[in-house]
């Protein structure tokens, strides 16, 4: 058999994680470099996957399949479609930046015992998360997916609870209590979601007898596997609940602001830009494919919820005093768009949603990481503590502004394309919802510009007057992201070409076709 590329892509960071964690306490820098190199190597592998993937080819490519737990009907089955490829690439792309951005975030303040190695732990955990995320993008076996979908909570949990911003208003003790609160909240929310999904997974096994995505989908299509309507709906809800928590969808979102607020900027990026994507991805791959009818049945409700997320998240972002919380609520609003696009059940909607996942990853990374650099300089997350930064650190301000403009999806930057696709896709089937969602773009402008105005413009605050501009390392982190934002905004075709076939497949799975225009003019 050929070289197991997908396994390698997931295994490499896993091995790297162990190796990094094993680096002796004294050799902190070595651990950092090791982690960085591993993540870059993973990126290389991911790019190979991207190259080896043939958009015109079979639905799932580079597939691997081995027996694993026969008694549970579980096989070790990997395979990627366009959507997965795009997201794997995104993940592998972001991790090196995350590592680089967090270069000093985990340097130990005080030493517990000589064996206490926070730095090694930090970078090891990041790689562990990468490994698990990647494999859950690759898994075409429901059980395999579920295992890593759940397991990835643990390293995330330690990342959130164990490492936070250095300087804290109420001192380190208060900080650590708030951190652990955030971490526990994160874990419990997602664990509850996951356990409810577990019930559904078991139910699926009882109904289907195995966990292979493709087999089940084929069996359902051919009618050989019949699912009672009620059963299908219950199972769908079980799955969707877990994904909606992870995504996060209103009203299951409240863990995200706490988590992002308390964790360091790179980890916050890891949460929204990488881990949460698994949720939306899974909706697209598992909910729609396994339970097409139930998905259609639930669509109206879900669309309304996502609409609420969009507006609600944006409004709350406007009301925030904490930079990171603001970004978190902005992300909630964006996830609303993604989910709306998925369940609009149109090609534009779903391609847009997938594109949105990628773009949102990049744009949030850009904004959040710069915000992190800003916060690390002043040692405060409160917007009110800043002002006039633009004067003393123009480059920082500039990059921050570009990140912000991407967040408000300015045309010419990547997110615009995806957001517009989602809106068009939704509008063409649900005009009213589409129009209301469009209000989101105004609110997005509001919270972004208010943030920029309060922090960057106006008279220079004495506390920030000595603030240094971006350092080389930080520039290396931000510049590529910005270039990418512009490139994908001007020329998103490479991504859409990969994604479209997969979306086409999904559309046919749910037996949906795009609504036809009333005047056949463009043809």
């Amino acid at each position: 058999m050929s070289f197991p590329l997908l396994t390698a892509t997931a295994a490499l960071p896993a091995v790297g994680a162990v190796a990094t964690a094993a680096v002796p306490a004294a050799r902190r820098t070595a651990a950092k470099w090791l982690a960085l190199l591993v993540s870059l190597a993973t990126l290389a592998l991911a790019i190979t996957v991207l190259v080896r993937f043939d958009p015109g080819g079979a639905r799932y490519q580079l597939t691997e399949s081995h027996a694993w737990i026969a008694d549970f009907g579980v096989r070790y089955e990997l395979g990627v479609d366009g959507i997965a490829v795009a997201l794997i690439a995104l993940t592998a792309l972001l991790i090196p930046f995350i590592i680089l951005a967090g270069w000093h975030d985990a340097d130990p303040l005080e030493t517990g015992s000589r064996r206490w190695r926070p730095t090694q732990g930090f970078f090891g955990l990041i790689l562990a998360v990468e490994a698990m995320v990647v494999i859950s993008f690759e898994a075409t076996d429901v059980f395999l997916f579920y295992i890593f979908f759940e397991a990835m909570l643990i390293p995330m949990y330690f990342l959130i609870g164990g490492f936070g911003d250095r300087a804290h208003a109420q001192g380190e003790a208060a900080a650590s209590t708030q951190r652990s609160y955030a971490a526990v909240k994160f874990l419990l929310y997602n664990l509850v979601g996951g356990l409810i999904m577990l019930a559904a997974v078991i139910g699926l096994y009882v109904v289907a007898g195995n966990f292979s995505l493709q087999e089940i989908v084929q069996a359902r299509a051919s009618g050989s596997l019949h699912m009672a309507t009620s059963t299908e709906r219950w199972l769908f809800l079980g799955f969707f609940f877990a994904f909606a928590v992870k995504a996060p969808l209103w009203p299951l979102h409240t863990w995200l602001p706490n988590a992002m607020q308390e964790s360091t900027a790179p980890v916050a990026v890891l949460i929204t830009a990488v881990v949460d994507k698994v949720g939306t991805f899974a909706m697209l791959r598992f909910c729609l494919q396994l339970f097409p009818e139930a998905s259609k049945w639930a669509t109206p409700a879900i669309l309304v919820l996502s609409l609420i997320s969009i507006v609600y998240g944006a409004l709350l972002a406007v009301g925030q005093r904490d930079i990171k919380r603001l970004v978190a609520y902005a992300s909630i609003s964006h996830f609303g768009f993604i989910i709306m696009g998925i369940f609009a059940m149109t090609s534009q909607g779903q391609s847009g949603a997938t594109l949105y996942m990628v773009n949102h990853g990049i744009s949030t990374a850009a904004l959040m990481l710069v915000a992190g650099f800003l916060i690390s300089r002043r040692g405060s997350r409160l917007i009110a503590d800043y002002g006039g930064v633009q004067k003393v650190a123009p480059v920082l301000a500039g990059t921050f502004l570009i990140g912000g403009l991407a967040t408000l999806s300015l045309p010419g930057l990547a997110p615009f394309v995806s957001e517009f696709l989602v809106l068009v896709g939704t509008f063409s089937r649900y005009p009213v919802i589409g129009i209301i969602a469009t209000f989101g773009i105004v609110l997005a402008a509001l919270y972004t510009l208010v943030l920029y105005q309060r922090t960057m413009t106006g008279p220079v605050k004495p506390e920030v007057s000595a603030m240094p501009d971006l350092r080389a390392r930080e520039l290396v982190v931000v510049a590529p992201l910005i270039v990418l934002l512009i490139f994908l905004g001007v020329y998103p075709k490479p991504v859409t070409d990969i994604v479209n076939p997969a979306v086409k497949q999904t559309m046919s799975d749910v037996h949906k076709t795009d609504p036809k225009p009333s005047v056949e003019a463009a043809k």
């Binding site: 009203p251 409240t254 609600y312 409004l315 709350l316 406007v318 009301g319 925030q320 090609s347 534009q348 391609s351 847009g352 006039g388 633009q390 004067k391 500039g398 403009l405 300015l410 045309p411 010419g412 615009f416 394309v417 517009f420 696709l421 809106l423 068009v424 509008f427 005009p431 589409g434 129009i435 469009t438 209000f439 773009i441 105004v442 402008a445 509001l446 510009l449 105005q453 960057m456 413009t457 106006g458 008279p459 220079v460 001007v490 020329y491 998103p492 075709k493 859409t496 070409d497 479209n500 979306v503 086409k504 795009d514 609504p515 225009p517 009333s518 005047v519 056949e520 003019a521 463009a522």
Partner: protein, 631 residues
Amino acid sequence: MENLIALLIAAPLLGAAVLLVGGRRLDRVGHWVGTLLSATSFVFGLILFVDLLGKNAEHRTLIKHLFTWVPVAGFQADVTFRLDQLSMTFVLLITGVGSLIHLYSVGYMEHDERRRRFFGYLNLFLAAMLLLVLADNYLLLYVGWEGVGLASYLLIGFWQHKPSAATAAKKAFLVNRVGDMGLSIAIMLMFTTFGGFAFGPVLSHATEASEGKLTAIGLMLLLAACGKSAQVPLQSWLGDAMEGPTPVSALIHAATMVTAGVYLIVRSGAIFNAAPDAQLAVTVVGAVTLLFGAIVGCAKDDIKKALAGSTMSQIGYMVLAAGLGPIGYVFAIMHLVTHGFFKAGLFLGAGSVMHGMNDEVDMRKYGGLRTYMPVTFITFGLGYLAIIGFPGLSGFFSKDKIIEAAFAKGGTEGWILGGAALLGAAITAFYMTRVMLMTFFGEKRWQPDENGNEPHPHESPRVMTIPMIVLAVGSVFGGAFFSIGDRFLHWLEPVTGHSEGHSPVGAWTVTGATMVCLLIGVGIAWAQYGRKPVPAVAPRGSLLTRAARRDLLQDDFNHVVLVRGGEHLTRSLVYVDHTLVDGVVNGTAAGFGGLSGRLRRLQNGFARSYAVSMFGGAALLVAATLLMRAV
């Protein structure tokens, strides 16, 4: 030849990139680089213009397909440019006036340490604006549309250390966003109606769609236009936008960007023609705005704000004309061009005055400047005559045509619109005369400011006066040049289409009436500001005056309803999120905790009570088993 179109945009874009990324090392040459590149793109424009003139009217449309932008199933967005007479006109206006203002800025921004970035932004604006007018589909137009918005945001807020400037910039962007919402909805409607949004297909098949849909599209486009062109009800940002450096006000907020709305409506003429209701809405908006802006202009003492009001009102004229349909399109564009000349000239003049007066903007602190800065005086004066429509100058031709067309709409509508237009003309005459008198006539009213340095009014350097002169020339002869032999009409007709309107009153009557209004306006102004000296502090003034000073309370309305209301909404939502949404979850957790605490007490440490529970359990077990058998 088509490739030049791309270069047309590429030149200023390159400039922007170089200047913004280039960093400090470019500080010394930056402004010249910027000016050079915008001039280059003007030259390209001229070459293309000549090329078009070479062709005969039908073939004066160049299409340049660059690459496919967003292909998703039925949704095909291309990066394609269309250069026809309409966009050509704009290209020349934009690059021409743009280059002049670049030149002017070299002098005006001389002492600003961030001049390089200023020119970067200016180039960025040019690129975006060119993209806007050259786009071949609405989505690409949308990119330019927001691009100019961004540039305007950056330039209004250029002096970011001034909170007022930062706020004004934010406000401008937000209000524009509301308009953009309209544009994006319009595009979605086009997609669902026509399956696409490229000019060709959409406009050629417009008539096939149901009128309801077309009206909807039209109204959404109108919303967009209102945002960009500062038309009621989205006009509130333009006045504050004057926080930006004066060249910016001249280029973006007078000559080019704010006219994008007119371009959009004229470009979408086919849709509006098929949707009379939408057209009516357009004319109403135009009429209201032209009066609104004029009235505001009368009350402002800040020279730039006064001019801003005038801009608003002049664009009102254009929108009105554009709303009249084929009888008005051409004149709308013509007025747009002439207005571009004289309004830019006026602003540059104002800038020159401020330049000489330590950036003083209050006209009540001017007076009798004609002797100190003759060139400014003359150029400004010519612009003044042009805008009030002094016979023979460009304003006269373009505005007169619009008034005629308004009457020609016929019916009561025609009378109302025409009347409004006439009234507008009178008020225009009044406030412009007021500006003129307060600035250049009477005796000097300026005093040393608090830290004692008295302004020494002086003429601006050559680099600033030359553009003013050029623009003055344009505003003197432009109108005549266009109108004689209906040059402009024939040039533009193939694109916009044209039909002669037949006004119930003869053309000369209209002209006469206009003249009368003009004289009345000037007369009143003279009576008020010419004969008796101008008080250095503004009198309390009538209710209307005070309202007008506050932009007819429109801002206050926004503040109370939108800003305050919004703040309350967000605050309450934050509360809800924390107590309700989060509270439910924490509540459940707490609930289990309490339950646990209560159950714990059963474990009281006494073996006998454990035995009791066992005994009870056994009893239950037995009972239950028996019960199961019983049922």
